[in-house]
């Protein structure tokens, strides 16, 4: 009836039967999940929030709400994964001259879930959520092309994340690392449920991402407002397009690899087994055919964020727009040509290694182009050191350092020395944290006022930055040292006393990152409390340049009262400069928006149940869940009435009120943008100069 699931599968039984520090930590984590779930349940019931949660959020197909839900998921999962990181660091510090307090098996689960969560359930939902929120607004669209599919993508990702959370309480997660290399993850060496948790969580997430990629690519190709040709799209939209294309091509190999691994484990196939013609190298190929483009799936949207941030807070149009677009496309293409550098040491010929080494180093060129473009955007700009800008400047230094160590690793001869050491761990954290994670933090600071109608508290954001940025350096730079000294990755204990001081410094860094994270949470809490004085209902707190800043904050469900027409890059900035911003349209029309729908949460629920059945060999649950997913799809396809109409009068009333408020507001200069005088109406900076500069920029581009 319940397959392999027994009472002993519960994490708490381990602590009772076999009390040890390791088991207590595991039980503690499990208790947090259970108690947190209960607390959330009670909170929702007491506050009577169940109904609004369902009607306003879970069943919503509005791309903005879907985006916010993605980011909430990412933040929740981030909290878990960053705490796991700190636990691992403390274990490595405590393991000096002893075994520490975690068992090797528990440590294995920690680094596996940390990697799996950070990639699939933090970084991916974070960028997807951001793209969801921002991209349709930037291209002047009312919605994404397939709003329901969008909600389904979200719920499939949520289903995968729920599986990872369940694994804290019921059973164990994989110990095979986030890459899950066979044959270790094959049934012979990992007979338990752990790898199955990995397989199904990742498969659900990757199907969700494939659908997202399709949806966004179509949206950008087909839903741009009149006048928005490809070379007038904001940089963030460009990076979203490239990321979507990468998702469409890169997620399928991962799905194939994880399903083949599942066939090996469940049905005794021989794709990746040691004997009978299995070929585990093929897993490495398939996995990295996904895995390498994946890092660009993550970092390209962050590059888009940096482009928007640096140009807005320098008060200049982005330098070298065309070169940035070309660089983005080059990176997207190269990302498929380098996967083999992840296994230089696994026995292919020197010629193959050299080819992939050179291809890898080539990626440094377009990335360098981008770095110079961002620097030159700041040149002669009027830079305001707001929180996103602090993150950006930190990013420029740190990302170049991280990228340089990547070039070192791209050399096969050096790679032979340092592969699988903490040097590698230091390298990829050095690019992903300042690049992607801090990029997402900057993006939240930047677009939060657009999403919620009030700014985030500036002072606490700065404090968080001053913990996060140095904390990151302390946490990861020591790993370069001990990596060179021979410390291997994924190791719970070590014997060389020379490592001790470096692990201690890394622990200090981890503590600072935790403190910075706590400050970010405090920033949100304080900002919500003071939302009246931080309010920016007029929607343009930073003197923004692209279309999303031209509408009220928070954005209405229909985005634009009238679909805008654009005539240049940085369309809203151009409108502000030549005085055509905030014009009342001649005529309003009825707007059709997609109706809320329960199909996405239902599909997520049944997919999660089906996967849980597969993990524990509860076959009836697996089959019923799977059939129900498709039953929901088929039944709902008979309902053709999926849209509702917002009457023109409603739109008119809201939009006229907004325009009236803008007209009556005094406007705020850049000197006061972080004060409570900022209501979201910007006084454009040095009006004449900027207009001239824009014109000059356009003309230079036309002549080159």
């Amino acid at each position: 009836m319940f397959g392999r699931l027994t009472w002993d599968s519960l994490v708490f039984s381990g602590a009772i039967e076999n009390p040890s520090a390791s088991e207590f930590v595991a039980s503690g984590a499990g208790s947090v999940v259970v108690l947190g779930g209960i607390a959330l349940f009670i909170l929702l019931a007491v506050m009577k929030w169940w109904r609004p949660l369902w009607t306003d959020w879970l069943t919503s197909v509005d791309h903005k709400k879907v985006g916010i839900m993605y980011i909430v998921l990412a933040i929740v999962m981030f909290l878990r994964a960053v705490i796991e990181a700190a636990v691992m660091r403390s274990q490595q510090l405590a393991a000096y001259d002893g075994a520490g307090y975690l068992s090797a098996d528990h440590f294995g689960q920690l680094f596996t879930t940390h990697g799996t969560i950070m990639i699939f359930f933090v970084a991916m939902p974070f960028i997807t959520g951001l793209m969801n929120y921002v991209m349709p607004l930037q291209i002047g669209a009312r919605d994404v092309s397939f709003p329901r599919l969008n909600a389904i993508s979200l719920m499939l990702t949520v289903a995968g994340a729920i599986l990872v959370m369940i694994s804290l309480v019921v059973g164990k997660f994989s110990t095979g690392g986030w890459t899950a290399y066979p044959p270790y993850t094959g049934i012979e060496f990992s007979p338990g449920e752990g790898v199955d948790y990995w397989i199904w969580a990742v498969t659900l997430g990757s199907i969700g991402s494939t659908l997202t990629g399709i949806n966004f690519a179509v949206t950008i190709y087909k839903k741009r407002c009149p006048g928005m040709n490809l070379f007038r799209m904001p940089m963030f939209t460009w990076t979203t397009l490239c990321t979507s294309i990468l998702m469409i091509f890169a997620m399928a190999p991962l799905t194939a690899a994880s399903l083949m691994l599942a066939l090996d484990r469940y049905a005794d196939f021989h794709f990746f087994t040691n004997g009978d013609g299995g070929n585990m190298m093929n897993f490495a190929n398939l996995f990295w055919l996904f895995g390498h483009p994946e890092v660009y799936i993550l970092v390209l949207p962050a590059f888009g964020v940096w482009s928007e941030v640096v140009s807005t807070f320098s008060g200049k149009r982005i330098y070298g727009y065309t070169s940035l677009v070309c660089a983005t496309m080059c990176i997207a293409v190269f990302s498929f040509c380098v996967w083999l550098h992840h296994f230089f040491t696994m026995g292919q010929s020197a010629g193959v290694n050299a080819a992939f080494g050179i291809a890898t180093m080539l990626i440094g060129i377009p990335t360098g182009v981008k770095i110079y473009d961002w620097m030159l955007t700041m040149y002669r700009g009027r830079i305001r050191f707001t929180v996103p800008m602090l993150f950006h400047i930190n990013f420029l230094f740190m990302f170049v350092l991280g990228g340089s160590t990547g070039i070192l690793l791209a050399n096969p001869t050096i790679d032979f020395q340092v592969h699988n050491s903490l040097f590698l761990v230091a390298h990829f954290h050095n690019v992903i944290i300042p690049g992607v994670l801090f990029g997402m933090f900057a993006a939240v600071q930047f677009w939060f006022p657009k999403a919620f109608g009030f700014r985030l508290h500036e002072g606490l954001g700065r404090k968080a930055f001053w913990f996060l940025a140095p904390g990151f350096v302390l946490a990861f730079f020591p790993l370069y040292w001990i990596g060179m000294m021979g410390a291997t990755r994924r190791t719970a204990t070590w014997a060389d006393p020379a490592y001790h001081i470096w692990f201690a410094i890394a622990m200090l860094g981890a503590a600072m990152i935790l403190a910075g994270t706590a400050l970010l949470i405090a920033q949100v809490v304080v900002s919500v409390k003071r939302r009246k004085e931080l309010a920016v209902p007029l929607g343009d707190p930073w003197d923004g340049r692209s279309l999303e800043w031209s509408i009220p904050a928070p954005a209405p469900s229909w985005n634009f009262a009238v679909v805008p027409t654009v005539f240049s890059q940085d369309a809203f900035d151009a409108a502000k400069c030549n005085g055509t911003a905030y014009q009342a349209p001649a005529k309003y029309e009825d707007i059709h928006v997609p109706r809320n729908s329960a199909i996405a949460p239902l599909i997520g629920l049944f997919a999660c149940a089906s996967a849980f059945g597969l993990i524990w060999h509860i076959w009836w649950l697996a089959i019923i869940g799977f059939v129900m997913v498709w039953a929901v799809v088929i039944v709902s396809s008979f309902n053709l009435d999926t849209e509702e109409t917002i009457p023109a009068d409603v739109v008119r009333a809201q939009n006229e009120a907004f325009l009236e408020a803008v007209r009556n507001a005094p406007g705020v200069t850049r000197d006061d943008e972080t004060s409570s005088a900022n209501q979201g109406k910007a006084v454009p900076e040095r009006h004449e100069n900027r207009f001239a500069q824009n014109m000059k920029g356009n003309m230079t581009e036309a002549t080159t």
Binding site: S145, G213, I214, I248, A252, P253, H270, G275, D276, N279
Partner: protein, 210 residues
């Protein structure tokens, strides 16, 4: 741009406004992109098969020992015929709008599809019974069953989809969204045909020769 220039070449939604056509184009285009990502999946399976059909034979039979071209040729003809009848169904939908003939072509398509899956299952039966060639036997056979099985699964899904759409044609009538779904299913069906040509060439012809 004139209206006729903006029409999607494959869809005919009847006398309607340009907005509906633009909406239709978006959906069809989205489906093309989905097909591309599905093709990536198949190419990964092809690549896996390419490696394993030579290096993964282990102690089991090799492609030459077990493949018989005549039933596979029959399957190919059946699948190609089903693509042809689906084409006729779409032409019927676009130009003649005779509901009964549309139903006839769709039924024929579904039956040919089902026949194809049946023949393929029979192939599997023969492999298991006469050659002892199960997917568990060797890496080569694992890859073979995965590649052809994924294709057969796609065809089976397409048949179920066809049944659902037939019911929708009967209950909802040939309205815009249902027509568009038929168009997309047609694209899907033709793509499966193309993939089968790849399988026929690469797995069977190549397998028997080498």
């Amino acid at each position: 741009m004139k209206l006729y220039q903006r029409l999607h070449p494959g869809v005919n939604l009847g006398p309607t406004d340009p907005e509906s056509h633009e909406e239709a184009e978006e959906k069809i285009f989205g489906f093309w992109i989905f097909l591309m990502s599905d093709l990536v999946l198949f190419s990964v399976l092809f690549a896996t098969y390419a490696a394993m059909s030579i290096q993964g034979v282990a102690q089991g039979p090799s492609p030459k020992d077990i493949f018989d071209l005549s039933p596979v040729f029959l399957e190919t003809m059946v699948l190609l015929a089903s693509s042809f009848t689906f084409g006729l169904a779409i032409l019927e939908l676009k130009y003649r709008k005779n509901q009964r003939r549309l139903a006839l072509w769709l039924t024929l398509t579904g039956l040919l599809g089902a026949l194809f899956v049946g023949l393929e299952l029979n192939d599997y039966r023969i492999l298991l019974a006469e050659h002892g060639a199960a997917p568990q036997t060797s890496g080569f056979l694992s890859a073979y069953y995965l590649l052809t099985g994924t294709h057969a699964l796609h065809v089976s899904v397409a048949i179920i989809w066809l049944i659902v759409l037939a019911v929708q044609l009967a209950t909802l009538g040939p309205v815009g969204p249902v027509k568009l779904r038929l168009m997309r299913l047609a694209l899907f069906w033709h793509m499966l045909d193309i993939i089968w040509i790849g399988i026929f060439t690469f797995v069977y012809l190549y397998g028997v020769v080498l």
